[in-house]
């Protein structure tokens, strides 16, 4: 009747996900994986969120991160922004619904969206510093990160942060180390109201559908799922009561996509640039082959001697110096 007080954590601590499951690897290519993991997703139901910050707390504890104790600046958001230690953050918005004049306290858990088309990975110059697993997890590999900050420019959601301590980029890993042993992210496990749930993406979409139905029945006509196509969909999705205007949720982008500037930089510039340099070098070689070197003739030397014969202020040439020509 009394269960074993201290059952050891035996099996299931062996990580069953790894490089063999990469489908993308920054600044490098990966072979087609032999197996395809089922797409997973974290669903954040903003309408169920009570803004308790258990997710932030669990994240700090699981990842052994400690943020510095800050100050109050007149809001509930603490810390005030994502940092290399704060991988997820509750953002609070006091919004008055002009349709009925009611105050709504919109509370959104901010953090990496794990895009299917990750801008950070596209921008990253360091091979293997950012990887994408076949289940959708986009992860930073600390060992390979060079701290250039290109991922910051690449991200459509302003998520990655570069540590001033070790000059490496940090963001939510979706608890890849837990997923690898069949557990969900620490935030999802902790969430008291299950506003954060985790499972396969299909399950999460089905679950979201139920939630949206419930919300519509409670008068939220525009309730919907946030799974932005601009980045190929995300593996962190939101259920929003006002899906028609995501920006009211602390600036959640309406139609996020990788910036065209980044696309240009990482696309055409990269290749055109190399080509241009190649052409320049090649032109030189060709020109040399055709016209040969531009040599000084004996006549030129004689002309020079004639011209400078009575030049004023000329100095005598040291006879011991070996001749130039």
């Amino acid at each position: 009747m009394t269960i074993n007080v201290n059952p050891p954590v035996a099996a299931d601590t062996q990580q069953q996900m790894g490089p063999q499951d990469y489908i993308r690897r920054s600044a490098s290519t990966v072979p087609e994986p032999a197996r395809k993991l089922e797409a997973v997703a974290k669903l954040i139901d903003v309408s169920k969120c009570i803004g308790c910050k258990a997710c932030q707390s669990a994240c700090l504890e699981w990842n052994d991160l400690r943020e510095e104790v800050g100050v109050n600046v007149g809001v509930y958001d603490n810390p005030h922004d994502l940092t290399p230690n704060t991988l997820t953050l509750m953002r609070f918005t006091e919004w008055v619904n002009d349709e009925n004049g009611n105050l709504e306290w919109l509370i959104r858990k901010d953090g990496c969206m794990h895009c299917s088309d990750p801008g950070c990975l596209k921008a990253c110059p360091a091979p293997g510093a950012i990887v994408q697993y076949s289940n959708g997890v986009v992860d930073f590999v600390k060992e390979n990160c060079i701290g250039c900050g290109y991922c910051v420019q690449g991200c459509p959601f302003n998520i990655p942060r570069i540590s001033k301590v070790d000059n490496r980029a940090y963001k939510c890993t979706l608890c890849s180390d837990r997923i690898a042993v069949g557990q969900g992210p620490a935030c999802a496990k902790a969430c008291p109201t299950k506003a954060i749930v985790f499972g396969t993406k299909e399950e999460m979409k089905a679950h979201a559908a139920n939630r949206i139905e419930d919300l519509k029945s409670r008068g939220f006509a525009n309730a919907g799922l946030y799974d932005p196509p601009g980045v190929g969909g995300t593996h962190v999705m939101y259920v929003l009561h006002h899906a028609d205007k995501p920006t009211i949720y602390a600036g959640l982008p309406d139609n996020p996509r990788i910036s065209p500037v980044v696309e240009a930089w990482k696309g055409v510039t990269k290749y055109a640039g190399l080509a241009l340099m190649g052409v320049a070098a090649a032109a030189g070689v060709v020109h040399m082959a055709i016209s040969g070197r531009n040599r000084v003739t004996v006549e030129d030397d004689d002309e020079a001697r004639r011209l400078t014969a009575q030049a004023p202020g000329a100095q005598p040439l040291d006879p011991d110096k070996e001749p130039m020509a």
Partner: protein, 811 residues
């Protein structure tokens, strides 16, 4: 809680009023979101602030703190006026039909028998008419003008929606919307649950706040049913347990009472208890009082408690006052009448009202002993911390002992949750440094005191010398040894009363439940309501079978729930007079012809016939009370009283300040402020990121909510030129604090009796020890006033003034 956390999933309507479950009890609030998501339940939040509970509510209505009774009586009036009453329930299970004595009346805010000198009522008229048969007179037709129902209607007549708006500042249409939603739950197949906490208790009329909602729940037929009930969300992990085990000045474990001086001997004491039924056939369970009491005495003093010495009745202290509660204790300290004080895991310097008085009082002690796993402000009250604790150490003569105790991770034992579940836990790590278990500390203190009395003798040493101490290692009693005492055991063998040759239970066995306890000294039991928690079958509190047949949320085999592993109190009331469930989809127990069966342990005898025995077995009526007779010091019906410090006068009884029988000490009156000097209505509360004064020691929580602040409306901020995130000063006659300002739309000015009322919200989590930024707290400002019945301090409603500031000198 009459029900359990997991039972909330069965409700149709959740009313959070006088609490903030989403912030203070997030994981319990989970069951509200489950009810919403899975059965379309609705959530109503009524609160002065738009809280995180309100953030996920279906409907929010603002209310001025301290006006809840007017609001709730208004809802009761709405239900009665609109015939939204669960009539079968009210007629069968309440005292609506009882005839009340002539002479009882209410006028100008006072009930009959008030003595302004003593600030007390003579409650003799607050009772029923008793017939010649010794039973109370009733009128089942509810026609008699003196029956409880008609007196109630008369009493609440003045609480119209307009009056509610005048008093509470709740716009009429919002009040009506809430009343309408609530009234729907009078249907047999709709239940509402009330989730409340210190938002109702911490008032000078806290008990009556709760009574008002309890009466409403009875009228709607929501007590004893799945998804219903009165659910007090207790603050601390084992405050339920500490109250059950009677760690209060006037209690004996299991809600028995410490005798008073007037009870000169055991016979007198017991005669005034063990109530005989007021209706035929009722169980009136307190008739067994003597069995529980004697068994307790045997657990305390073992062989020294004998029939000859009235089971050591005189070893118990006798009270000359209703209670030596915390407020009185500090009043005595301040008067120099108390010289020693122990704080076992408690931080009064921040927890008790009027910090100035607390500091002053502690400084008058000869010795103070603090037993705690953490640094506490109390243990360092003598240490100067600038504006955060401005004292002169040299002038404080108190000797202070700071003893390191273990925390949950290092000890073993049971905690009782709000749902009355006794849950056993095990130690995960060894204590740090020289920290010791509280049990070890208490045993060490006791053994030393006993030794001193053995060697030196002294005043009345018997209770100490004879204290029953049956532990394998007297220096270090083990949790399971003590748990066995709490459950109870047979001292001698128990024989069948009808056939003395038959032995029912051997001597020295764990009893199976309080049913077998006796008042002849043959059984011992530390806490009768816990009986059954540690039987011959083993430690029931350690059971971990989380099966839940038909998803009722009962979890009957998970740990142990007092009493008798019952999960929902008064569960007999979940079925109609004939024993059929009010709502078949929410069956709890039903009468099958011979006995009661279902998902829970029946509250009444399993073979007690319906229509004979009422559900409310602890009441001599067998029924619940809409009219409480003389059982509450401030009236058999709730009435609206303003807080002692209120921004408006009491519009129903202008002459009365506060609750006429609330606990007030004359010496504190001069520290009360008035609205002309301190115009703003302040309230104190917890934040979800913190737990009282513990989590400021926890780095992560200090990060999540680092610094002391107050919350004010944009309107008040503009009026006072206070910036969002800027400093402001909040003060009254008792103290002054500097805080960051959170200027928010979530607090709106209210209009009460035609006058705008601004609210100032003051969270309570900061001090001068720990990882978080140093800060002050509301108890520098709160008044030294207590509830009329249980002396809970009035932390939720008081007056302050506020201005822009440059922050504390040392900040």
């Amino acid at each position: 809680m009459t029900n359990s956390w997991t039972d909330i999933r069965n409700t149709d309507l959740v009313v959070i009023m006088g609490g903030n479950a989403a912030e203070a009890h997030p994981c319990g609030f989970k069951w509200v979101t489950e009810a919403k998501a899975n059965r379309g339940a609705k959530l109503i939040v009524v609160d002065p602030r738009f809280t995180r509970s309100a953030a996920v509510a279906d409907y929010y209505a603002p209310i001025r703190q301290g006006s809840d009774i007017a609001f709730l009586l208004g809802v009761i009036k709405y239900c009665i006026d609109n015939d939204k009453v669960q009539w079968d329930y009210v007629k069968a299970f309440t005292n609506a039909a009882y005839i009340v004595k002539d002479g009882f009346a209410y006028s100008d805010g006072l009930f009959t028998g008030y003595d302004a000198e003593k600030r007390e009522y003579d409650r003799s008229t607050w009772d029923y008419e008793i017939g010649d048969d010794g039973y109370v007179l009733t009128d089942e037709t509810l026609q008699n003008p003196r029956c409880v129902w008609n007196l109630l209607k008369e009493h609440i007549a003045q609480y119209t929606p307009e009056m509610v708006e005048r008093i509470c500042g709740t716009p009429k249409e919002k009040f009506l919307k809430v009343a309408e939603m609530i009234s729907e739950c009078s249907a047999r197949d709709k239940t509402m649950t009330s989730m409340y906490a210190l938002g109702w208790t911490q008032h000078s009329k806290g008990s009556q706040n709760i009574r008002s909602m309890a009466m409403l729940q009875l009228i709607l037929g929501n007590i004893g049913v799945r998804g219903g009930g009165m659910n007090a969300l207790r603050g601390h992990s084992n405050i339920q347990g500490l109250t059950d085990v009677g760690l209060m000045s006037n209690l004996i474990p299991g809600y028995l009472n410490i005798p008073t001086e007037r009870e000169v001997d055991y016979a007198t004491y017991i005669s005034s208890r063990g109530f005989k039924p007021l209706r035929p056939n009722q169980m009136s369970y307190w008739q067994n009082y003597s069995k529980f009491f004697v068994s307790f005495q045997k657990a305390m003093w073992g062989s020294a408690a004998t029939p000859e010495n009235d089971f050591a009745y005189h070893y118990l202290p006798k009270l000359d006052l209703p209670a030596y509660d915390i407020l009185r204790a500090f009043e005595m300290m301040d008067q120099g009448q108390m010289h020693g004080y122990f704080c076992q895991g408690f931080n009064p310097l921040l927890s008790f009202p009027d910090r100035g008085k607390i500091t002053r009082s502690l400084a008058k002690l000869k010795y103070l002993v603090v037993i705690d796993p953490l640094e506490t402000e109390t243990s360092r009250f003598w240490e100067n911390h600038g504006t955060f604790n401005d004292v002169d150490s040299a002038s404080i003569q108190t000797e202070v002992y700071q003893l390191p105790s273990t925390c949950f991770a290092e000890d073993e034992g049971a905690l009782v949750n709000s749902g009355r579940w006794l849950q056993w836990h095990w130690a995960a790590q060894n204590p740090p440094g020289e920290a010791k278990h509280d049990t070890w500390v208490m045993a060490q203190l006791f053994n030393r005191l006993k030794k001193l009395y053995q060697e030196e003798g002294g005043k009345f040493a018997e209770p100490i010398l004879n204290l029953h101490w049956p532990y394998a290692d007297p220096e270090d009693p083990k949790p399971d040894e003590i748990a066995r005492e709490l459950n109870g055991y047979t001292v001698t063998e128990l024989r069948d009363p009808n056939d003395p040759t038959k032995v029912l239970v051997e001597a020295g066995k764990q009893v199976s439940g309080f049913g077998v306890l006796r008042d002849d000294g043959s059984t011992a039991c530390g806490c009768w309501i816990y009986s059954g928690c540690f039987t011959e079958a083993g430690n029931m509190m350690a059971r971990r079978d989380n099966a839940d047949p038909d998803a009722t949320g009962a979890y009957s085999n998970w740990t142990f729930s007092w009493p008798a592993n019952r999960r929902i109190l008064y569960n007999r009331a979940s079925a109609d007079l004939d024993g059929k469930a009010w709502d078949p989809s929410r069956k709890l127990i039903e009468w099958n012809g011979e006995k009661w069966e279902g998902y829970d342990v029946p509250d009444i005898a399993v073979t007690a016939k319906p229509r004979e025995v009422g559900p409310f077995i602890m009441n001599p009526e067998g029924q619940s009370r809409l009219f409480t007779r003389g059982m509450m010091r401030d009236g058999p019906f709730p009435a609206h009283y303003e807080p002692f410090e209120s921004p408006v006068v009491n519009v129903v009884a202008p002459a009365i300040r506060g609750n006429p029988v609330a606990r007030v000490f004359e010496s504190d009156r001069e520290t009360f402020g008035d609205a002309d000097e301190f115009p703003y209505a302040a309230t104190s509360y917890r934040l979800t990121e913190h737990f009282h004064y513990w989590t400021k020691h926890v780095w992560v929580n200090a990060v999540l909510q680092p610094e002391f602040f107050v919350e004010i409306s944009e309107e008040l901020a503009a009026e006072k030129g206070i910036d969002k995130g800027g400093w402001c000063r909040v003060w009254n006659k008792r103290g002054s604090v500097h805080a960051k300002a959170v200027v928010t739309k979530r607090i709106q000015p209210l209009v009460c009796d035609g006058k705008p009322v601004h609210i100032v919200g003051i969270p309570l989590h900061w001090g001068f020890t720990g990882a978080a930024k140093n800060g002050m707290g509301p108890n520098s400002l709160t008044p030294f006033v207590g509830d009329a019945n249980i002396e809970t301090p009035e932390f939720k409603a008081f007056l302050v003034n506020i201005e822009r500031s440059d922050g504390p000198a040392s900040a």
